[in-house]
Homo-oligomer: 268 residues x 2
């Protein structure tokens, strides 16, 4: 029996999905959350579909054991490769990042939409196929940007090297006349300053974090206790807690998390 | 009972350790080899000591089941954090990359030695402590270079962005007057052109791959069948085989490997 006070589970391969958690908390502050970052096995974006699916199913099973009422897959690679498998694994609704990102991009009215993400996300064609399905007349192009996650994790979100790397990856999209770019990776909002500089002011960047919160509000209204008072609890679980991940966690959340625990899920 | 014809096991978190395998094959062509790259869980370099040790012990156990006669830990992070644990896990001699790299660096006669590597390798102080132990009068400084592995994997070994990033990381060592730099990561030989450009012709770069082959020749002479004729067999096992890893494998080996298998070791 699902209770309104049950937590919302948020899953990512690492700590980039905390950008999605933050957007959800802004929108639904009274909710309780449990976040799982699979930092011991990240990144997912360079790995094969079968490995990503195996890891994601294992992680979702762990979150389900917390009695979550909704699973938000705040990882583009897992959303792209494993959403069906996750839907079959957990007994609650599953929201990925692809569908919300597509909706938000189409809402901009752009006729030429670009998608950037990890190699896995782009190769899966999840964004491209969903866009083609929802708006067949819109033109779509995509670019894998493998170096952007390491740059975001290094804290180089506003750095000349990041501008140069982003220009390298985005040049074909810009030459083609892209109007809206979907940031198809939860790390990319951390690079927003560099990315916006590279694409220029007339190209809109769609941040899937906000789009996910919007989708939860629209599609899962009955589950969210927005009427509640005060702030819900947030529990963060990581499968590895190196200094690096803790530093990025603080950078995204703006402060050290109150409840953080290291969990071992790969023997589950 | 160890046989001369038993394979040498080579272990790395990913495919960077193939640079060590290549150096070993050049030196001992008649040997049989089995290489394990833990590509499903890489990178190790950003993760904590306890996670690295757990993964490395698991991987070494898998290699031991192949009946290896010698284990070469071709991963600087695992060599730094887990060499003792590995020595206690496998019933054969274990050679890491740290000791050979230190020997090779001291052989250059440098008085100021720099070490570059992943965050994990540098934070472990393994190189710094070993250098201090072997040559107390030599001055040592170190720099973590987290972006260099992604740049190597992207194939940007000779690229202006790599020069810029390397300059950023190496500037303090160069200002200090470094004379020899230990490449404390098996990926870094792939960036040799950029790195040599940045440090200039008078600074020597020590490649641990060659140093490891030298140490095996010196310390484990009885185990290597250099007298044999012909070429030994090479078996490559990866825990994940995405296109990315296969591409890098081909780049390092110069051709597609003859025997490559994907293995699942994390449930072992």
């Amino acid at each position: 029996m699902i209770q309104r006070s049950d937590p919302i589970g948020v899953f990512d391969s690492g700590v980039g999905g905390l950008t999605v958690l933050s957007a959800l908390r802004n929108r639904f502050p009274a909710e309780n959350y449990v976040y799982l970052g699979d930092t011991a096995r990240l990144p997912y974006g360079t790995k094969s579909a079968s490995t990503v699916e195996r890891y994601a199913v294992n992680a979702a099973g762990h979150l389900a054991s917390h009695g979550i009422k909704l699973l938000v897959v705040a990882c583009n690679t897992a959303s792209s490769y494993a959403l069906d498998a996750l839907g079959a694994t957990v007994p609650v609704p599953v929201v990925g990042v692809v569908e919300p990102g597509v909706r938000a991009a189409l809402a901009t009215g752009a006729r030429r939409i670009g998608v950037i993400g990890t190699e896995g996300t782009i190769r899966s064609n999840a964004y491209q196929d969903t866009l083609a399905d929802r708006a067949p007349s819109v033109e779509v192009d995509a670019a894998a940007c493998p170096l952007l996650v390491p740059l975001a994790e290094e804290g180089w979100g506003d750095h000349p090297v990041t501008d140069q790397v982003a220009r390298h990856y985005l040049a074909p999209l810009l030459d083609w006349g892209v109007q809206t770019v979907i940031l198809g990776c939860t790390h990319y909002p951390l690079l927003r300053q560099s990315l916006q500089r590279v694409v220029g002011p007339s190209v809109e960047l769609v941040d899937s974090a906000k789009a996910v919160a919007e989708t939860v509000a629209q599609d899962h209204h009955a589950l969210t206790s927005t009427g509640g008072d005060g702030e819900g609890a947030v529990r963060i679980e990581l499968t590895d807690a190196s200094d690096r991940f803790l530093r990025i966690t603080r950078a995204i959340l703006g402060s050290a998390p109150e409840q953080l625990e290291v969990v071992d899920i790969d023997r589950a």
